[in-house]
Symmetry: C2
Subunit: 166 residues, 2 copies
């Protein structure tokens, strides 16, 4: 396998994994393409690199910027925009956590809080109440742990441990 094949395989597999996790496959492929690119790319280079339309490229590049995984760069004298990916993998993980926590964990917690209002007039044995209570406890723990992790940055493991044991 040469470098070119390797890149290709990496891009495909990054896309596959993303779509397993409910993230648009093309968005992940654009991300992968930028990750392995030695320099920032233009929208046209992304289009060519992945054989996708201008609209598609644009949408997914914007989404990646929204996730904080890709940034724009302007080259002096040039009119077009260049895009490059954040390559520090810890930062990447961190951004993904921030984004998905906000968009998915937090709304779920909100619903659980609402639903938990019912608990008051719940007989202790009622399975619904127990399940909600358990999931809520777990989610809150996850929420706090992720908050700590987000703030913690590189020395995360010791802070996470502190979070977990209390």
């Amino acid at each position: 396998m040469d470098i070119q094949e390797g890149k290709q395989k990496f891009i495909e597999s990054w896309g596959k994994m993303a779509s397993d996790w409910g993230i648009n496959r093309t968005m992940a492929q654009v991300h992968a393409l930028l990750l392995v690119a030695p320099d920032a790319l233009t929208a046209d280079e992304v289009m060519d690199g992945l054989s996708i339309s201008r609209g598609n490229a644009n949408m997914n590049l914007r989404a990646l910027i929204d996730w904080g995984l890709v940034h724009k760069k302007l080259k002096s004298g040039e009119r077009k925009e260049y895009f490059y990916a954040e390559k520090d993998m810890w930062k990447v993980v961190r951004q993904i956590i921030i984004h998905r926590k906000k968009k998915e964990l937090e709304p779920m917690l909100k619903v659980l809080d609402e639903v938990a209002g019912v608990e008051a007039n719940c007989p202790q044995s009622e399975s619904f109440c127990n399940v909600v209570k358990d999931i809520r406890k777990l989610s809150q723990k996850a929420d706090k742990t992720l908050d700590t992790l987000i703030k913690a940055d590189s020395s995360w493991f010791s802070t996470i441990f502190y979070q977990m044991v209390r």
Copy 2:
């Protein structure tokens, strides 16, 4: 909000969250329905409860059993099957981790290993190699941590800590 509304809301929101994470929405709703049900349900009760077809109910019940989140139960004298969900939330989390790790993390790691073969003839500066190297390191760490977590069960936090600091 009464109990019935609460259950409804919980089922909806569990389904929504699942589909955000690339899991079939109906599968998660069946799971939620069984989680909040005081007793085991028949396929027909699931169909009615969620207004879905027999085929759909059957498929998703089987998938849940495959994930280890739901079990069958036979009542003596009765011919039909009853289904009930595992309600210990730690076990639920554990099963989900086991399943997704096997189906998603492991294949990704395999690809990374293959792709990493290229590294040999990579100049140190080559961004592709660095990215692959970093992701691989991270995934392997995640893989090991999850293994430890899966084995660790309830006293997980101290074992995970041990895993993380080394």
